[in-house]
């Protein structure tokens, strides 16, 4: 399967803590996107990181990309209850190839 693998599958933290989730593929990565999905809703695009970028920030989000390891990470700093959601990475292929997702639960 070309699907990405995300680690951990589930993560529970307290408000204010940082959340880190990782994504890896078996095949090479060029550009990679991260999405969030709230329960029962569609996916929302968070950030795109290009192959020539190693790190990118957007608000409380920090994304890294290591093309040699075919992996990426998403760091959410100072988590809030509203960050509770599933997070998916997606790499460019013929169409986007999504990972299986990390479910983040942030409790107050």
């Amino acid at each position: 399967s070309q699907q990405g693998e995300e680690d951990p599958q589930a993560l529970s933290i307290q408000e204010g803590e940082n959340a880190t989730m990782n994504c890896s593929y078996k095949t090479s990565i060029n550009n990679l996107q991260w999405y969030r999905q709230n329960s029962g809703r569609g996916l929302v695009h968070l950030i795109l990181i290009r192959s020539n970028e190693r790190e990118k920030h957007s608000g409380r989000l920090r994304v890294t990309l290591d093309t040699s390891k075919k992996s990426s990470s998403l760091l959410i700093t100072a988590s809030r209850a509203a960050d509770t959601a599933s997070y998916f990475c997606a790499k460019a292929g013929t169409a986007l190839i999504f990972g299986k997702g990390t479910t983040l639960s942030v409790s107050s």
Partner: protein
Amino acid sequence: DVKVTQSSRYLVKRTGEKVFLECVQDMDHENMFWYRQDPGLGLRLIYFSYDVKMKEKGDIPEGYSVSREKKERFSLILESASTNQTSMYLCASSLFGASVNQPQHFGDGTRLSIL
């Protein structure tokens, strides 16, 4: 604001029925996609389309077909519904061309149950 609308949030159908899932986008996007999402399996691409009357198979097209007669509308058809097609179906759209670097905009999904 960008809007992708799926015709039903919840749908219950019977085995053997022909099922139509409709998706409309108001962003004049060329690309449209259909995914199914199952627990532990993530999103899997069923079909996609880069232009009107054009379609490409994704990873799991068996048992499905699609129709794109107008730019804004992309329909997913279950030819003869089976219980293993019970799933959440998500439609998405993105800007022109084969550029998969464009962000995709998703509808809220249709949760389909086949009894």
